[in-house]
Structures are given as structure tokens and as C-alpha cells.
């Protein structure tokens, strides 16, 4: 009873700490990586007793500055809506991660502990539901600020986010059809199967087009370049114009946290979650835990090594996908608004529907 409560709270703490650390490191990585790509030095000024940690102290100083800055409430705006908008930007991101497994179920003293907070049969719908809530943050912030630029940013943001939400929903249908489940846990287990005996059945291998549609749509949901029209700092400043202090920071903390969570969603659905290719636990491979290579090799490993390898593999995949999002953000220029709308509705939407049709035909031909 009490041990269950402790386990639950520990899992929540691990997940939240992971997301916060990821978001914190990303604020640093954003500056350093952009500096690298633009041939600059990047954050390097702040130091504690001469220790700079490659500019990591700068991120700490930024956070402190935001906390001690005035929390400005525009007296001519709508106070209540203005106050709750940043909550909508940050809260859903932290809740979304709960259905994703960050490691295989642990067996301790005859008890099975799944390494995910919520084991939901409708996990993907849960992700979509809370992902959709983020629109409210942008829309309310733009509406409540009583500022023309904020309103423009909020309107652009909400139209952009709902347009790309459809693509997210449609592109995830393909993997659901292939794996026959909406539960991310079971989806990850299914991805350890091998196609033709040697190719891991990862989402990206059976559904490459779905991944190519999901990645840009997910990036559009984070409202970052090349999809940063709601902010567009060089022209309209955007929905967060009338915010300051930590409530401004919450919009951007939410944005960075969303990069982490999206990396985790993509790792789970398209990159085999915590699975390592050819690695099977004892329960999965006739009590012979370890690597079973398709050319007949067998490398035995202890069960706890397998658990450690799998948790590390999940973290590594999430890191790679976060890096990929950073790289795209600093490589491409901003879209024009008409291009943005055309890409989503007239180009990605028919492709996503065609992907569903083709997936259906292939599955029926294969299973015949």
C-alpha cells in the first residue's frame, strides 16, 4: 500500500526531473549549437568563482533573472485569462509524458513495476488530448493581453496549431494500424519483433512516411522556427508580448519541455522506445537473456544489464531526436504564412490519407 505510493511518487519525480533537466540543458544547447552553426562563440560570460561550465552558468543566470523580474499584469487586459494562459502552456506538456514507458517493467521481489506512470489502453489518444490543450495557452495569451500584436500572434498561433494537429492525428494512424494497439507500452514491445528475421520492426521502418509527416507537424506544434510565426520576433513579437518574469519564462520552458516530450513520443512510436535491436530478456527469448544476432551469434547478459541498457537506449534516442529538432530549427528560415497553411492542408493532408490507404492495403496483402 504505502510502498505503492512511494513507487508512484518516485516515478513522477523521475519523469518531471528528466523533463526539467532536458529543458534546462536545451536552453543552453540552443545558444551553443546556434553559435556553432553561425561560427560564433555563444554563451560564455557568466561564471561562479571562475567556473563557467561551457556556458551552462548562463542558463542558470537566465532562470534567476526571470524569477527576480517584475511579474507584470497589464491592467487593461483580462486579468484572469492572462494569469492562466502560461499554465496551459506548461501543464499539459508535463502530464503528457506519463503514458510513455521509459524502460522495461522491473521485477522486484515478485512484484512487477512498469516504468511508466499511467498504463493506459488509449495512451496515444491521451497524448493527442493533452497535446491539443496547448493551443489554449497561445490563444488565451493573445486574447487576454489587450494588445494588437499579441492578438495577431495568438490568432496565427491557434490557426497554425490546429492545422498541424490534424496531421499529427492522421500520421499516427499508420503505426496504430501496424501494431494494432493504442497503448505505447504494447507498441514498444511489438517493435522488438524482427522483419524477415533480421530487420527490427521499428515504426520508422514500417511507417517511414508517417514519421516524415509527424516530425514537421510536431515541430509546428512547438511553435519554433521554421514554424515560429506566432512569435515572429522580428515582426510581431507575438502572443507573449505582454508577459514578463517567470510567467513569460513558463511559455518558453513549456516550449523546451515540449521538445523533450516530442522526442520521447517519436522515440516510442517510431524508434522502438526502450528497445535495443536484437536484445531480448529471458521472458522474451526462452530463458536465454542477451543479444540474439540474426547471423546466429548469442551474447548472454544478466537481466539487470538488459534493464540498464534499455533505459539508456531510451535516453539516447530522446537525446538524438532533441538534437535533430535543434538542427532543423537552426537550418531552415521561417515559412511565410500562406506557405504554412498550404503545406499543412494541401500537401501533408492528402499524403497522410494516402499513407493510411496504402498501409491498409499492404497489411491486408501481407496477412492474407
Amino acid at each position: 500500500m504505502w510502498i505503492d505510493l512511494v513507487i508512484l511518487l518516485a516515478k513522477i519525480a523521475v519523469v518531471f526531473a528528466g523533463i526539467m533537466t532536458g529543458a534546462f540543458v536545451l536552453t543552453w544547447a540552443e545558444r551553443k549549437q546556434s553559435a556553432l552553426m553561425a561560427d560564433r562563440i555563444g554563451a560564455n560570460r557568466c561564471a561562479i568563482l571562475g567556473i563557467k561550465l561551457w556556458g551552462l552558468i548562463n542558463s542558470l543566470a537566465d532562470a534567476l533573472k526571470l524569477i527576480f523580474k517584475e511579474d507584470f499584469l497589464p491592467p487593461k487586459g483580462l486579468r484572469v485569462l492572462h494569469a492562466i494562459a502560461p499554465i496551459f502552456a506548461m501543464f499539459p506538456v508535463f502530464v503528457t509524458f506519463a503514458v510513455l514507458p521509459f524502460g522495461p517493467p522491473l521485477q522486484i521481489a515478485g512484484k512487477e513495476i512498469p516504468l511508466q506512470i499511467l498504463t493506459l489502453d488509449i495512451g496515444l489518444l491521451y497524448i493527442l488530448a493533452f497535446g491539443g490543450m496547448a493551443v489554449y495557452g497561445v490563444m488565451l495569451a493573445g486574447w487576454a493581453s489587450n494588445n494588437k500584436y499579441s492578438l495577431l500572434g495568438g490568432m496565427r498561433g491557434s490557426a497554425q496549431m490546429i492545422s498541424y494537429e490534424i496531421i499529427i492525428g492522421l500520421s499516427l494512424i499508420g503505426p496504430v494500424m501496424v501494431f494494432g494497439t493504442l497503448d505505447p507500452g504494447r507498441m514498444v514491445v511489438a517493435q522488438n519483433d524482427l522483419l524477415w528475421g533480421w530487420l527490427p520492426k521499428w515504426g520508422i521502418i514500417v511507417q517511414p512516411l508517417a514519421f516524415l509527416l509527424f516530425l514537421p507537424a510536431a515541430m509546428a506544434e512547438t511553435k519554433r522556427a521554421p514554424f515560429d510565426l506566432p512569435e515572429g520576433e522580428s515582426e510581431i513579437i507575438g502572443f507573449s508580448l505582454e508577459y514578463s518574469g517567470m510567467r513569460w519564462g513558463m511559455f518558453f520552458l513549456g516550449e523546451f519541455a515540449e521538445i523533450v516530450v516530442l522526442g520521447a513520443v517519436m522515440a516510442t512510436v517510431f524508434f522502438g522506445g526502450y528497445q535495443v535491436p536484437y536484445l531480448f530478456s529471458g521472458a522474451e527469448a526462452a530463458s536465454l537473456p542477451g543479444f540474439h544476432f540474426p547471423w546466429g551469434g548469442y551474447l548472454p547478459l544478466g537481466e539487470w544489464w538488459i534493464v540498464a541498457l534499455r533505459v539508456l537506449s531510451f535516453g539516447f534516442k530522446v537525446l538524438c531526436l532533441m538534437w535533430l529538432q535543434m538542427q532543423i530549427r537552426w537550418t531552415f528560415p521561417r515559412f511565410r504564412y500562406d506557405q504554412l497553411m498550404r503545406v499543412s492542408w494541401r500537401e501533408m493532408m492528402p499524403l497522410a490519407l494516402a499513407n493510411i490507404a496504402v498501409t491498409g492495403i499492404v497489411i491486408m496483402l501481407v496477412s492474407r
Binding site: 500500500m1 505503492d4 505510493l5 508512484l8 511518487l9 513522477i12 518531471f16 524569477i67 527576480f68 511579474d71 487593461k76 502560461p86 506548461m90 501543464f91 502530464v95 506519463a98 515478485g110 512484484k111 512487477e112 506512470i117 499511467l118 498504463t119 493506459l120 496515444l124 489518444l125 489587450n146 494588445n147 494588437k148 500584436y149 499579441s150 491557434s158 490557426a159 490546429i162 492545422s163 494537429e165 490534424i166 492525428g169 492522421l170 494500424m177 494494432g180 493504442l182 518574469g245 517567470m246 510567467r247 519564462g249 513558463m250 520552458l253 504564412y337 500562406d338 497553411m341 492542408w345 493532408m349 492528402p350 490519407l353 493510411i356 490507404a357 491498409g360 492495403i361 497489411i363 491486408m364
Partner: protein, 123 residues
């Protein structure tokens, strides 16, 4: 295995909800308590890059945004229909596949109509 109240997903979700809400409230409170407070008339004006706003910001807006929202609702409902079908796809067989394709084609006609009516052209 003995079952406990924490096997219930709703209870787990309430704890998760509380933890995430607490974290968010902590950030809001931190800034509200520790930041300085000062206000004057100029500061209270909306910041519109130096211009003094003459009217309320919430003015009539292009109808394009409204149209996009309407089309979004239509297709979001479509996505909601697709999910249970996708899970049960293998059990439904060819009949299920064909009926869903007919549904998709009807919606594609709707999308085509919206495209021809220039709903997605922002000039």
C-alpha cells in the same frame, strides 16, 4: 499479486495532476513573490512599439481564421473516427477497409471543395 488502490489509473492520474499543478503553481508563485512591483500610467499602456493605442485591441478579424477552425473541426472528428477503426483494423477485414475508404473519399471531396473555395490561400 495483491492489488492496491494505486493500481487504479484514475488515482494515479490525480497524483500526477497534483504534482504537475503544484510545479506550475510553484513557478507562478515564485515570480509573483520575489519580483518587484511598480506601476505607472505609461507602463499600464499596451506595448505597441511606441505607438499609443487609440482603440481596443480586440477588433474584427479576417474570416480566414474562422474558416480554418471550422474545417479543423470537421477533420478532427474524422481523426476521432479513424482511431478505433485503426485498432480493430485486422479484425474488420476487407469490408471494414472498403467502408472506411469510402468515408475518406467523401471527406477528401470536402477538402477538395475547401481548396477550390480558396480557404487555404492567404494573400
Amino acid at each position: 499479486m495483491d492489488s492496491s488502490v494505486f493500481d487504479n489509473n484514475l488515482i494515479r492520474f490525480l497524483f500526477l495532476f497534483g504534482a504537475a499543478g503544484g510545479l506550475v503553481a510553484f513557478f507562478v508563485a515564485l515570480s509573483a513573490w520575489l519580483g518587484p512591483k511598480s506601476m505607472n500610467e505609461t507602463k499600464a499602456e499596451p506595448f505597441e512599439t511606441g505607438m499609443i493605442p487609440k482603440t481596443d485591441a480586440r477588433r474584427p478579424f479576417p474570416i480566414k481564421y474562422y474558416l480554418v477552425a471550422i474545417v479543423f473541426i470537421v477533420f478532427d472528428v474524422e481523426v476521432a473516427f479513424l482511431y478505433p477503426w485503426a485498432v480493430e483494423f485486422r479484425n474488420l477485414g476487407a469490408a471494414g477497409f472498403i467502408s472506411m475508404m469510402i468515408f475518406l473519399v467523401i471527406l477528401l471531396v470536402g477538402l477538395f471543395y475547401a481548396v477550390r473555395k480558396r480557404v487555404f490561400e492567404w494573400k
